[in-house]
Symmetry: C2
Subunit: 207 residues, 2 copies
Amino acid sequence: MSQEPTIVSKEDLENRDAKWVSLKKLNWKDHTGKERVWEVAERRTRGSSGLDAVAILAVIRSKTNAFPASTVILEQYRPPMDKFIIEMPAGLVDANETPEQAALRELHEETGYKSDKVLESSSILASDPGMTTANMKLVTVDVLLEDKLEYPDQKLDEGEAIVKRVVELKSLYNELKEYEKKGFMIDARLNHFATGLEMAERLKGSL
Amino acid sequence: MSQEPTIVSKEDLENRDAKWVSLKKLNWKDHTGKERVWEVAERRTRGSSGLDAVAILAVIRSKTNAFPASTVILEQYRPPMDKFIIEMPAGLVDANETPEQAALRELHEETGYKSDKVLESSSILASDPGMTTANMKLVTVDVLLEDKLEYPDQKLDEGEAIVKRVVELKSLYNELKEYEKKGFMIDARLNHFATGLEMAERLKGSL
């Protein structure tokens, strides 16, 4: 039985009761030597890799060029925003895996697509460096299919409700606009990727 | 006298002592009706606009096409990461301004560039929806110059240390790689925008 997820209540959380995040005060010296403070949230789950999370940019292509290069994005309820967010597949990095292994595992679980070819793995990126210590890598993977677009089943954990959607890269920007009209919210990183694709197209000739 | 900024110490911060952020526990019901909890950080500074921050994508162009379309990015020490981060210009939205006014003000302060033409203002985006309630808009503005690239002075507040850098859009992806080699960290949103630009170029023909 499926129903609309909802926020029941919200309360202050103190560090001693928090399992996933904590609030910290940084005492720091600026470039003039002046002492300052900065308030920041951090994840408690970061392992020895030093990395919190990976996002996966899947490039879904046909060996015979039978369909346009595409990617897979997710629709997922996110309690912090109390909305369904459109995002790239992503997840936290487990203690015993490399970022690239985490990316291929999450892609398989959340979308059903399998890949064994990492095209590129970004450096460690700052997720929101004014407010949190959270960091991430963007892992770009090749999903090379024969001449037909396939839609494999997801391998979701019990209780996970994630809808996947395959979108042609050249339409991604406009598809996100359609999602907004329907009341979905877009993840900033996915939005910025789509904006880059779109701007390359619009500025053709003056680049 | 300029010196390397440093973290002096880090301590737990409780909600009652925090001015800028707070830690919350969300009690929510999932799609099966099951009660769950989610831990989240939120900004205390959000005004009636409902928006925390804006980032600015400045498209710097020549009226006569005398130089390639460019943008301006910043190098800035961020205590949460204890590193110099490469970012788009950005800032919090003041209580009395629209997102677009905030974007043009921050662009002028942080880079010296003036614009009165907003090309596009995104919907409200989720900055890191698994961990925080933070949201933002990406405002794309036109900086139309005559035939020469100009480098106006910044209008920084006392104590601000932000280095600006003008980069051709077609080189942005590679310039970020150069920054990484020098020990800078890249903001995820800027990285994703540059990845979109680069992917459009690399996939030409299969899009």
